[in-house]
């Protein structure tokens, strides 16, 4: 074997061991501020109210709705199938299990967007995948889905289609009335959790 061969093999062994070592002090479960900023700038973390409505109507099995308002508010009104996890209890172990999985697309909502954004940031920082926010929260839900308005200045095909959809959705969700019986929701058993097996820290490749 030539000296060059030995040198290359030695070099590769050293870098290989370096790689193994770097794995140990690299915590991939956390998201760096850099990545967090990138994700915050992007609009991909939002589900529009229409997306949520479509998913509920079509009974999308991958949708998991999380209501982060207080239990009182949840009992008064919430979305169909939503699970109540108040923001202050977000970091409880039994609640985190709802987010620490990669089966469902978790959509968080509150009254507006800001509380959901806080929850989204905490969960993303924890490294959980498929966490989304309902854009505008329940206020937007009421405005867009339950009581849709249509008063365009100029006729716009897109706007009209959107309005048609909203009108249909409004009918489906019993529009006009914002009161849906929360008790009915509360009595509904929580979705069975599919817990993700805790894996060892894998590399960057998720």
């Amino acid at each position: 074997m030539k000296n060059l061969d030995k040198f290359i093999i030695g070099l590769m062994l050293i870098t290989g061991i370096w790689l193994l070592m770097s794995n140990n002090n690299n915590d991939n479960t956390k998201v760096s501020p850099h990545e967090l900023q990138q994700k915050l700038i992007q609009r991909t973390r939002f589900y529009t109210t229409e997306d949520v409505a479509k998913a509920i109507i079509s009974k999308d099995p991958s949708l998991q709705l999380i209501d982060i308002r207080t239990a009182d508010e949840y009992n008064k009104f919430t979305l169909k199938g939503a699970i109540n996890i108040p923001l202050k209890d977000l970091l409880k172990k039994e609640n985190l299990d709802y987010f620490d999985q990669d089966v469902y697309n978790t959509v968080i909502f509150s009254n507006g967007s800001s509380n959901s954004d806080v929850a989204w940031m905490i969960l993303t920082r924890l490294g959980y995948k498929n966490i989304y926010i309902m854009d505008g929260g329940l206020n937007a839900w009421v405005d867009n889905i339950l009581r849709p308005k249509y008063n365009p200045i100029v006729w716009d095909r897109k706007q009209e289609d959107l309005y048609e959809f909203r009108k249909g959705a409004s009918f489906y969700f019993g529009g006009g009335s914002t009161v849906s019986s929360g008790n009915e929701q509360a009595s509904k058993p929580k979705k069975k959790l599919i817990k993700r097996k805790k894996k060892e820290v894998t590399g960057g490749c998720g």
Binding site: M1, M12, L13, T15, G16, L20, K199, G203, G204, C205
Partner: protein, 206 residues
Amino acid sequence: MGPLFPQELISDPLNLFIAIFIGIGFGIGLEAGGFTNTRKLAGVFYGYDFVVLKVFFTAALTGAIGLFLMDSYGLIDINLTFYPKTFWIPTLIAGIVMGLGFILGGFCPGTSICAASTGKIDGIAFVGGVFIGIFGYAFTYESLFQNLRSKGGLGKANIAEKLGMSNELFIFIVLIIAIIAFIVVDKIQKRVNEKKPVEKIEELGL
């Protein structure tokens, strides 16, 4: 920070411009390594020259170790790099075709273009064959290949994940296998060349 192109940190023309220089470097490397000679590639199958195997193993491991090291130090986000989906049936068939082409022609696509540009007639003929293959595939795609193409889809297959180990550990195991392979093929090469010496390419003056 990286990868540069998928995050639109560099523009499309600049990306192509950089690619030209990388391509030139690759071509010079292939020519300097003697890869434009068919005997070099065919040598792997006859057992008198294993440089090709060593080069490709080294290249793959350098790429893997380098990327994951950069990933663990935050220089590149490995999740944003291109990760093709695996379709094992067409891959297997194409692998057989490619292997046969290696033995029969003595070139792989890259080296054939290098050889053609250095004026080797067999290289030019091989490139002609490559183009016949490309057009042949394109014109018979719908009738012959459309169904085959999506057979045996495995999604984004990651062996390390399937085996439940970290990517870093998996790369290290491949590295050990590569080093063992280097030593074994060196022994085979020595034995074959002692029994029936093949003139070195340099000595033939090709």
